[in-house]
Every structure is written in structure tokens, then in C-alpha cells.
Amino acid sequence: MKRRDFLRVLGVLSGSTLLSACGSKTSKTFVSPILPPEEGVIPGEAYFSPSTCTECPAGCGLSVKRREGWPIKLEGAPGHPINDGGLCIRGQSSLTRLYHPERVETPMLRNDRGKFKAVSWEKAFSLVSESLAGSRDAGRKNLYLSGRTTGSLSRLIDAFCSRLGVERLPEFEVYSHSAVAEANGILFGERDVPRYRIGKADLLLTVGADILATHVSPVSYTRELSRARSREDFRWFHAEPHLSLTGANADRRFVVRPGREAVLLAYLLRQVLDRGPRRSGLPQEAVDALPRFSVGKASEKTGVSAEELAELADRMANARHPLVIAGGVSTSHRGGLEVAALAGMIQWVTGEIPRLVDFARNEKYGGTGTFRDMEALSARLSRGEAGVLFLSRTNPVFSLPGGFAFRENVRNAKLSVAFGDLLDETMQEADLILPLSHSLESWGDVEPRRGVVSLVKPVLAPLYGTLSEGDILLRLMGAVSGEGPATGYRDYLFAEWTKRFGKKGKDAFSRNGFVVEALPGTRVTLNGTKAAALLKDATAEGREPETPVLVLVPSLRTFDGRSRGLPLLSEIPDPLTTISYGRWLSVSPGTAKVLGLKDRMEANVSSGGWSQVFPVKIQPGLAEGVFVASRDFVDSPPLATDGRTGEATWFLEGIRIGKSGRVAAIPILSGSPSQRGRGLIPDPSHRDEKGHHGKESFYPEHEHKGYRWAMAIDLALCNGCSACVAACYIENNVPVVGKKDHLKGREMSWLRIEPFYGETGNVDFLPMLCQQCDSAPCETVCPVFAAYHNPEGLNVQVYNRCVGTRYCSNNCPYKVRRFNWFWHTWRKPLDRMHNPDLEVRGAGVMEKCTFCIQRIRAAKDRAKDDSRKVRDGEVTTACAQSCPTGAITFGNLLDPESKVYRLAHLARAYRVFEGLGTKPSVYYLGGAKGGPEKEGHG
């Protein structure tokens, strides 16, 4: 035991030195560590260890790729109950949080001049314990506010609070889904967000829930969705007032008037009652309370065309297992509770509880508080009731409506103690800052879904003098009681785990990284009277927000704004607008015409006393009178709170838009929103008529021996989530160049998501990367053979041979080659992230995707060791690995058994610009969203 510890520590230590030894071959020294590093750690070979992503509450499983002791990439853990191998863009980028140059390194105390000063942990602890006692005597209450917390840490916090007489406040999450929880509470007595089993449904209706990007557990939903989509009979409809990534990917998308979702659902519920698969009836009083709509009436109220409504109703009625998920924008307005309730009732009636809607394995949002709670807290603070106020992993100052005056009131606390890693608005208001270790530096566990426990395990010693929250609490307890910390958090956890899973279970847990506990199912019954009460004026007028509205939506890239600080995330453009840096306001084309707004023009948005200036981006597919901006573009937005649910509305109502006359410089990376009929994505009807390049090749054909690497990308599955892009950046040491270069069009991404909009505002996403053409325009023009065709069908780019004529890039029809305009640098310690299998390209060199040739090389190396060929699926590219939908397949085209071969020979397989005769190795599988041979978009 002791020795292993010693080893672990030293493993980390020597890891750091070993890196200098092996990571960079140019380093002038190589190192003899004191002890051999941990078993299985071989310098020069990557190895993986399990952990859990803490970038958002979803709690996806990680397998951390390490080299010489340093984590260099995060990948989704295959087989993990939440994400099963997929990992979203934010998860990928979480590594840049670990290595962020601006992390808080030591405890910091605000001195009398209001400046922060570094202090020792001991000082911090003693200070806190003193003021805990002090304020208790002074009759003040000590409060503990944290972001959503699950698993052992939550229990530890409870212990901490009870021991030190601290009041634990309800957790604060901006997206607490309290309307949904509330509704379920009222109807079924289960105040929580249930688990939706999308995989088992044959009809999915999502109402406002942005399940692909930000809703509850996006990766898990995405995975299940693509499983469902592979089935012929599956259909997916989406209703929302604005345009979200989810909406863009649904089989069909209905644009509902803001706040009128209730009408839609009421109509559907009625239809289901009349002719649907009513497995369990609705109590009579509820049925009576349910308002009646004719198709016409409903369509006129909702703004959805009558035919579409009728069709939806039919499908709903005929579906065997329909699933309705209401949430997000549709449950976050004054009528949100009813929308959620109606969705619940439909599920009840269709009898899909608990088959599809499982309360036993709920998403554990019961404990999270609401904006109402925060309002109360703010009030208490203003009354000066608070002694010590702990603020852990949460940023209310930024997220709460300005009306709450939280920023001001925090100061009234006797001592506000903020835990966090990057200095955010709340931490800046605090008196004492205690730096948290990144989850990759600390022990822990999370329980994102009831019965699913996921392991958080350190892969390296803390880079700075930071502690995990658990350790902080334990040591605080020790400091207060005076006899020092009883145990470290690690031992505390081990004890917990042994208690919970038993000895064997604990080992399995720390080996696999997760445990799924068997749970008894929960039977729920619908409370008729309450349902009736809710239904009475579910669809009453005047509840819905008054147009024009500004919808403040969660962002794919920063969630509720907590990931703003991560450089990589602002480098990767938003898939819908292709804007990378800065804030913008999405405006519908019609409105833009009326107001005379064009892209990049600045518009002044004001409502009530509040106003802000946004650059405009015209967003096809957006309804008139609806404007969209990301939540994190607005600091403490003036949002109202729904009295009943405590949910904050997402709508700024009756806003006024004015032109400021200025034009802002925002990088819109796409040169054109439409593909101008160039057939990059041929529409299904014309798919068969590919422009074949009849002409003979002037040069002899390449023959490929052994391997010909190829890729198949299923456009029907790709939803533009950009996880692949992030993965590519990190895997290949692609530099983050910043806004200045983006404005010049000098982004360096090897892989990009190209959104192309149709006339109806429908959008298709085309992941564009080097096509590894068989007769490649780039190769023939390179004067020095820096770009050449290798025997395995790759267009290899030999960086050190490149002289930088840029001719190859000019001649590339796909424009996927990137030129190093400058010497790109990584601010320390971000350079720790470098993948040592690749060099970092210097100025004046052309670079590009080579199908992660370093991974291919490694696989071939392994294969060669036991003298065989590389097996199908043994090697995959970073993008394919990270893709939550599994849209990308990589493999050997010469092997007829391989998956990629099969896909490349499907009828719907095509290659971009086939007519040019470049013979790419990347096959795209065309076809409507929702997989093979389904109808086009709404």
C-alpha cells in the first residue's frame, strides 16, 4: 500500500520529467526516473484511465488518454451507461480547463483595498473557522450554496453542514428544469426529471427540449436517438418557437408561436384520448377540464399548419410507443408548467410510463433549487442574515436576473467564500477564493442518474496548490474541531464505496469507472384532481410572451456560460451561424428585410430599462418576430421568474430593435449560407445522378497495397454538434489562433462543420475534412513532393519538406488545407496538451488532416508486433471516436469485410464534387435527416 502510493506520486513526478525526456525528442536531456513508473506505463505509448466529465451536470464517462503521465486528450468511455463512448464539444474542451493559463493557483483573500492577495491554506482555513464561529455567535446564519452536486460529495456536504451548523441551501442550476420536475411532482408525486428511453420509442415528439445540445444529458440522448433512427419505423418531430440545433435535425420541425405549445399538446392529448392507444385512462374530471380545439382553431392558435397538425395527430394516435419530451424553451415561460403537465398526461394516457418515461432512474434534479429560492436567498443576504456564505462551483452573480441584485447583496455576507477554478463574476465578488482542483486532479464520484455512479479519479497530481472540494471540507472540519483532518477525501471515498458496493464492488468500480445499481421500478399514478386543476386554464390567452421576443437560449459551446473561459470553445464556430468569436443576435430573414438589417450590422435590443447592442446574424428558418441570442451573451439578463415553478423564463418580451448604424467585426466563417446548387449535399431525389468524371486520368493510377484508408460519414446522422472538431483540434495540436485571424479567414481547423440552408430554412451539416483524394489536385502541383500520395491512399503532407508555396491549398477544391501564417504558440501550461506523436507545425508550412496518421501508425505498429494486418475497427480517427451519433466510420477500403467498405457501397453513398474526378476517399451517405429513405424536412 505505502509503496504503491509512493509509486503513484513518483509515477506522476517522473511522468513530468519523462515527458521532457520522451515527449519532445528535441529536448537535450533524457531522464532516469527514481522508480519505474506505474505498471503499464511505457514512455512513448499512450494509455487510458477512466474518469468522469464535470464540465456540465450530465456526468459523461471519460477515458483519459495519457502520455508519460500527462493527460493529453479526453475520450468518451465506451460502454459507459450515460455516453457510451461519445463526448460532446464541451467535454472534449474540458482538458483546456485543466491546463488553463489563468487558473486560480492559491487561496486568495480580498484585502482592505479590495484587491485579492494570495494566502496559505492554513490561513484560509483558520479564517473561515473563526468567522464560522464568530457569525454563529453574532446570530448570523452560515450558508452553503453549490451547483448541482451528486454522489458522495453531496453526502459529505450534508455531513459538513450538520457538523458545523451550516445551512445547506438548495443547489443552484440555471437550467434546473424545475417546470418539468414541478409538473411531474403535481401529477405523479415524483418531483424530478424522468429518464426518457428514446431508444425504445417509435415516435418522438420533442417540445422545446434541445436534447442534442444542452437538455439534461445531451450525449446520452444523442446516442439513444441515433440508435432509434437506425430503425425504419422511427419518426421524430420537434416543436419550438425559435431554431435550435435539435430542431434543425428533427425529421420534421414545427414552428410554434412562443408560449402556445400547450395548445398543441392539448390538441394532441385530445386526439390520443379519442382514437389513440389509450392504455391507461385519464380521470374523468381531467378529461372534462381538457379544452377542445378543432384542427383549424389549434393551427390558428399555434401557427402550425392544419395539415401538419392533422398528420402529427394521426402519427401520435397510430404510434405504438410514442414519447413526448417537453422542456427547455417551451417550459420556461408563464405557461411552462402546463406544457410540461400536458406532456406528462399524454405519456400517462399512452401508457408509456414507466416503459419510456422512467421515474425510478430519474435524472436527479429533485434536489436542485429554483430561481425563486435564489430570490429568497438574495433577500436574506440583503437583510444581512448571512454569516459565512459558501459559493461552490456556481456563478449566480452572472446568471441571475439583474433584478435580484445578487451582486450587491453578496457583499452583505460577513464572509463570502467561493470555490472555483477560473475567476468568474461570483468569485470576483467573494471575500475569499478557495481554488478547486480539476476533476482530473482529484478523487470523487458522481451520480448523474439515479443508480448510475461514475468514478472521478486523478490522473496527475494537482498542477498548483489546489484541493478538491471534498478535501477542503474535510480539512475545514478538522480545522474547526482543532484535531486536524480525520482522513483525506480519497480515503473517505474508499470507505464510502466499500460501504456501498462492498470490497469486490469497489475494486470493479475503480477499474471500470462506473457502477449501475439494480433499482426497483416505481409505479406512479396520475392525480386526477390536480391534473384537472392544471388543465383548467392550460391554454388560456395572455399567458404567452408578447412578440417580438428575444429568446435567450443555452449555448452548445458554453452551456449556461460556465465554459466561456475555455479558449478552444470560442475558436470552434457555432454550427448554425458559423460565428466563432463574440456575441450575436439571430434575426429571421423576413424581419431583417423589414428592419433593413444585414449580417454584422449592430442592432440595439432594449426591453424595459435594459438594453444591449448585438451584431446581427440573419438566421434562415427563424420565425418572424422571434430573435435569438445565447444566454451567456447577456450578463445578468432581466428575466422574469414563473411564480409557480420558480423557473426563469427564457423570453424577453415586447423588445424593441433599433439599428445602431455601426458595423461590428464578427467572424462569420461561412462564405455563403446556401450551397448554390453545387451538390455538396445532393438532395435525395437527385442523389442517383452523380456527375461522373468520364475523362481518362493523365497520370497512372495509384495502386494501394494492403490498406487503403477511407472514411464514410452519414449525413443523416450528423447533427452538427462539432464534437469531432474539438477532438480534431486536441488530437492534432491544431493551434487556436484567435479572433484577429478568424476575421481574416485564417482559422486552422482541419475539420469543419459546414451548414447549408435550403429554401425552407432547413439545414444540412456537412463535415468537411481532407478528402484524401486518389487523384489529388494538391499533389501534382507541389513542387517538392511535400504533398504526395502514399501507398495506403493517404495524401500525406510532409511538414518539414514544405516550402510554403500555398499552391496545394489554392488547387484544393475542398479548401481543407491550412497554412501556418505565423509561429503559433500555446500559453503555458496549455502546451502540456500537445500530442507528442505529432510535431507542432512552424510558420510557413501547409498542414492538413491525414486521417490521424499517428493513430494508424500506432495500430500498424501493434499489428506488426504480432505479425498480422490491422483489424477493422482497431484504428479509428479522433473525430470518428468522439462522434456521439456514430456518424463517422473509418477503415480499410480494400477489405470487403470492413464496415467502411459496406457503407461506401450503399446506394446513398456519394463523394463531394465527383465531377472533378478527384476520387476522394471520404464517402458521404446522403439522405434525409432521420436515416435512410425517410421523407425530407418540414
Binding site: 532516469s32 526516473p33 527514481i34 511505457i42 505509448e45 500525406v796 510532409v798 505529432l838 510535431e839
Partner: protein, 161 residues
């Protein structure tokens, strides 16, 4: 005329300096004699360079390994004292590289060892070197001509990344 010869002379001096800088045989923190360990004790190379046949990097011996013998052997010698000091202060030893490749080259010891090359083909008669001295030029021509002569792959991507 004098000027001309002067110039040539300077150029020559420049070359000399450059050669000096090239550092064919840098000093090491501990003057480790391969002569004894390789020739006299005839230890196989991978006794210390533990990773040579399982990884790209040959790697150096963990200090613990050195100590396992030198706890008892030649403990009074100055160099060994240095070694013990490293061990006690838990400082890893930072050897100066004699063979170092630029970042854009991928090289795997493992592959070359498994291909049956003898270490001496690139590293010379290490057993005879009191102080290790680089024998190969490590220039691309040096690699290529050997690859060519032995029919090893010569696709750029085998070595360049």
C-alpha cells in the same frame, strides 16, 4: 590575396566551432562507463535500457535499478557517491542526449530492434566507449541509405509526421 586566405581561414574556424557545438560526446552528470557494464559485465543493452524493445524510446534505467547493484558495489567511488546522492534526494538523473532527433521525425527503437538490427549498427561499439560518442550523423541521408540498402520502407510517412 592575404584577404582571400584570411576569409578561407575564418570559414575554416567557423566550421571548427560548428563541429564543437555539434556536441558529439557531451559530458554526463555521472561519468557512466559503458566499458565496464557492457564489455566486462557483459550486461545486455536492454538490462538498463528497459523500453528498447517495447517502445519507441529506449529509456534509461530507473535509479533504483542502478542502486540495486551499487548499494554494495564500488560504493566508495566518487561517481557512485553522486549516484547515491541522486537516489537519496529522489532526484531523477537528467542525462545529456547524445542521439537526439528533431520533432518532425518519428523513430521507434522497438521496430528497429525487432527488425533484428544490432544496437551497434547505429550506436557503434558502445562497449568500447568510456564516454559515449555519437557515431551516426543522424541526418536523413544516413537513415535513408540504410533503409534503402536493407529494403526497409521508404515512404515519407514512415518516419515523418
Amino acid at each position: 590575396m592575404i584577404a582571400y586566405f584570411g576569409v578561407v581561414f575564418l570559414a575554416m574556424a567557423g566550421l571548427a566551432v560548428a563541429w564543437q557545438q555539434a556536441g558529439l560526446s557531451p559530458d554526463q552528470p555521472i561519468a557512466f562507463p559503458h566499458t565496464i557494464h557492457v564489455s566486462k559485465l557483459s550486461l545486455p543493452c536492454n538490462f538498463c535500457h528497459i523500453y528498447v524493445d517495447i517502445s519507441r524510446h529506449a529509456g534509461g534505467p530507473p535509479v533504483e535499478k542502478c542502486m540495486s547493484c551499487h548499494k554494495s558495489i564500488a560504493t566508495e567511488r566518487e561517481e557512485i557517491r553522486k549516484l547515491t546522492r541522486y537516489y537519496e534526494e529522489k532526484r531523477p538523473i537528467e542525462w545529456n542526449r547524445v542521439y537526439s532527433l528533431p520533432d518532425h521525425v518519428y523513430f521507434s527503437h522497438k521496430r528497429h530492434v525487432k527488425a533484428g538490427l544490432d544496437c551497434s549498427e547505429c550506436h557503434g561499439m558502445v562497449g568500447a566507449m568510456k564516454k559515449i560518442r555519437r557515431v551516426g550523423s543522424l541526418k536523413m541521408g544516413w537513415c535513408v541509405s540504410c533503409h534503402r540498402a536493407r529494403g526497409a520502407p521508404r515512404d515519407c510517412a514512415t518516419c515523418h509526421q
